[in-house]
């Protein structure tokens, strides 16, 4: 799965937590989850849980703290998926 595919999948994970769905149209690797998508920071926990189940990975606390932008998220997800192989 390349970064583009992960980004498309990640949008589906972010969808239920994004109040203004239109903001998801312009998502790129630099998009900040809290500042740009206006996601409630408490919901980052839920996004991580959903991503874990979607990609069948485990995201530890240290990695989770790095997930600030969409690009960061793709980095962590890619890393964990590779570690699984």
């Amino acid at each position: 799965m390349d970064r583009r595919e992960i980004l498309d999948e990640l949008k589906k994970v972010l969808w239920p937590y994004t109040e203004n769905k239109a903001l998801l149209d312009g998502v790129n690797e630099h998009t900040d989850l809290v500042n740009d998508l206006k996601i409630n920071s408490a919901n980052l926990v839920d996004i991580i849980i959903d991503a874990e189940s979607k990609y069948n990975i485990e995201i530890d606390m240290d990695s989770a703290e790095k997930m600030i932008t969409v690009g960061n998220c793709i980095d962590v997800i890619t890393e964990k998926m590779n570690a699984r192989k």
Binding site: P16, Y17, T18, E19, N40, A42, N43, V45, D46, I49, E52
Partner: protein
């Protein structure tokens, strides 16, 4: 005479009707909201019927954002949000605001964090998967969850409190809101209560053998307050809400006034002299009713209608005797008496708020709803009350003053006096 408190908005999620128009129609016609629950039979309960609103959480789409609604599993919070926001809109105020409403607070009652929600937590934690619980569990497990959702949606900035007093919760919430306005601490209070009786709450009452078990195949007949064949109560679920306002505040914003909350009282019998954890003591009840009348400056002879607690247990007879003694009115001099529980069962924490909404509607629309299933009144009750005081069909009649009481575990009592709004007091 100080500040007056009026009711300017109503909302309800009841087993026999969701929203005021449907509920009003149901209580006029005597429509039962009690239904058979196959699940309760499967669980080997004695009682297989309950009062359950036909409510779908999806109905909240118009009330909460998709993100908020997405993780909301607590049904009782859902009932409360629906009833509260309906009452708010009914009072003629806009929902959306960026500024906190400092003059408006909320007292909303709830009995427990919903066991069904707690179960998910217990299952995850016991499996060593606490990290998968997510961010939305605490706000739904805390007893103040319903109040937090309501006050957050409406930006209520005054006192925001969750009360809990078993079956007296609803009337007590209303009285607390009344007190804050009366004392000048708030101009407006959103008050009410909610209860969702899932199988775990139901099971705890079923094990006390206090539920109706003889009408499992006739659900609509199962809730029989004051009846000779009453054999226990039928638990119910739902929420009731009302907007209380300082009269001057309501007049200034030209609000529609339904009725006045003239006064009330809450006390405890202290679990002495007949009062116990589970049974109300007569002395406390009689004092509570007398204190409510005194607070409202209403003479016992002015009460047109008693909306009782009257659950369909052996305590009904004692309750009627207590009303007669408290009002010093007997036989055919007693006010008309009815029990909404005959139609919706006993909604526990939500009983007081749903029944108070019904009390206000009877004043506004000039009627007394029927006691359904009272074709065979208990002979001991008839020794105290003339049969025509326990109407079995709807009566169209001007109702000026209603006494509404609820009594809860812990020997806690609350009595409210509602009256028709008259500008000259």
């Amino acid at each position: 005479m100080g500040r007056r408190v009026v009711i300017t908005g109503l909302g309800v999620v009841s087993p026999n009707g969701i929203g005021i128009p449907a509920f009003l129609d149901a209580i006029r016609q005597g429509i039962s909201g009690i239904r058979y629950m196959p699940e309760f039979e499967r669980l080997n309960f004695n009682c297989h019927v309950t009062g359950m609103p036909h409510f779908d959480m999806d109905e909240l789409r118009a009330y909460l954002s998709d993100v908020t609604l997405n993780g909301l599993k607590a049904v009782g919070i859902g009932y409360g949000v629906k009833a509260a926001l309906d009452a708010w809109t009914d009072s003629g105020s806009p929902v959306d605001t960026d500024e906190p409403r400092w003059e408006t607070g909320c007292v909303f009652g709830s009995s427990v964090g919903e066991p069904e929600v707690v179960k998910r937590v217990i299952t995850r934690v016991d499996a060593g998967e606490a990290r998968k619980l997510g961010s939305r569990v605490v706000e739904q497990m805390m007893n103040s969850g319903v109040t937090a959702y309501i006050s957050g949606r409406l930006a209520l900035g005054n006192r925001v409190i969750t009360n809990s007093a078993a079956c007296a919760t609803g009337t007590q919430a209303i009285l607390m809101g009344y007190d804050y306005i009366k004392q000048g601490q708030a101009k407006r209070m959103l008050v009410g209560s909610t209860e969702h009786v899932d199988s775990y709450i139901f099971g705890t009452f079923d094990s006390m053998r206090v539920l109706a078990r003889k009408f499992n195949h006739l659900p609509e007949k199962a809730s029989r307050p004051m009846s000779a064949t009453a054999c226990g109560f039928v638990p119910g679920s739902g929420a009731g809400a009302m907007i209380l306002e300082d009269l001057d505040f309501a007049l200034e914003r030209k609000a529609n006034i339904y009725a006045e909350l003239a006064g009330g009282a809450t006390n405890s019998g202290g679990q002495r002299r007949g009062g116990t954890m589970t049974a109300p003591g007569s002395q406390g009840i009689i004092k509570c009713i007398a204190d409510a009348l005194a607070d409202a400056c209403v003479a016992p002879g002015s009460i047109d209608l008693v909306c009782g607690h009257l659950t369909a247990t052996a305590a009904d007879t004692l309750e009627i005797r207590n009303w007669a003694r408290a009002l010093d009115r007997h036989g055919d001099d007693l006010p008309l008496i009815n029990s909404l529980k005959s139609m919706i069962g006993h909604c526990l924490s939500a009983a007081g708020s749903i029944e108070s909404v019904a009390a206000v509607l009877q004043i506004v629309h000039g009627f007394v709803h029927p006691n359904i299933n009272l074709e065979d009144p208990d002979p001991e009750i008839l020794e105290v009350a003339a049969p025509e005081k326990l109407p079995v069909t709807m009566i169209e009649k001007e109702i000026n003053t209603v006494a509404k009481a609820n009594f809860g575990f812990g020997d806690v009592n609350t009595c409210l006096i509602f009256s028709k709004y008259n500008h000259n007091g």
